[in-house]
């Protein structure tokens, strides 16, 4: 993926993460798993329904009107889920993810 395309995807991921955090005050952190085709986010929320043995994301089409021009794959997990379970298959490891919200202070 070109650097420009990566930047577009990252910008859209940040917009989506910020909007989601604004919509759900219980979200503590949001992790972005970079991918060429879709925005992949896992949101850490202690009010989420815990997963049993694997994390299954929900897939949403691109939403150009909402300024999210890429399709997205989102999962909401508890802090304990994050400790116990790996990311969805094909997403890599937690260590590969970028904490996209809240953004680290400079």
């Amino acid at each position: 993926m070109s650097k420009a395309a990566t930047n577009d995807m990252e910008s859209a991921a940040k917009r989506l993460a910020a909007a989601n955090a604004d919509a759900e005050p219980a979200i503590q952190e949001i992790y972005w798993f970079p991918d060429e085709d879709e925005i992949r986010l896992i949101e850490i929320d202690e009010t989420a329904v815990p997963y049993e043995d694997f994390i299954a994301p929900f897939y949403f089409p691109a939403d150009p009107e909402g300024h999210i021009p890429f399709r997205s794959a989102l999962a909401m997990v508890t802090p304990d889920d994050k400790k116990r379970l790996p990311p969805p298959e094909g997403w890599g490891a937690w260590e590969d993810a970028v904490r996209i919200w809240p953004e680290a202070a400079d």
Binding site: A23, D45, A56, S72, L74
Partner: protein, 166 residues
Amino acid sequence: MPHDWRSAFLTQARSDYRVYQRLLELANIEQCHRLHYLQMATEKLAKAFLTDGTRMPRTVHSAFVRFLQLAKQKQNARVRKTLRMPSGQFRAFLDGLLTTGQAIEHLVPEGSGQRINVEYPWQGPDHTVSVPAESTFELLGPRGFPKVGKIRQLMEAYFQAYGCPI
């Protein structure tokens, strides 16, 4: 008609939902059957979004509640437009549905046979065996009506927005 997995689940969810609507029109039908079809429709609608279309969705528990939680955040413009709701109102609308969504999911029988459900007889704490067809469900009573009505509005908006109008 060829489908991808998402469209297939949406289409079957719509069909379950249509049966639910038909059952609402029938006077002499036990409540459990109506709720059973509503529950199946919600489950399949949620599962339609547990796939990008290329793979069969995985089975997860509480799929509909998870779906409602994420729908709130996604602020899906197509669905909001169908409901004619501004962003804040849409969030509040979805927030108000979580408890009812959970109640609908709990209508599914579980292994021990001790949970009230819409399909199989269960045994209560006092060892009395109850039958779904002879039971009343608060969700379909006057107190549950407004919330179930909103779940129906949301489902119909999703069907409309994703090409499966009722």
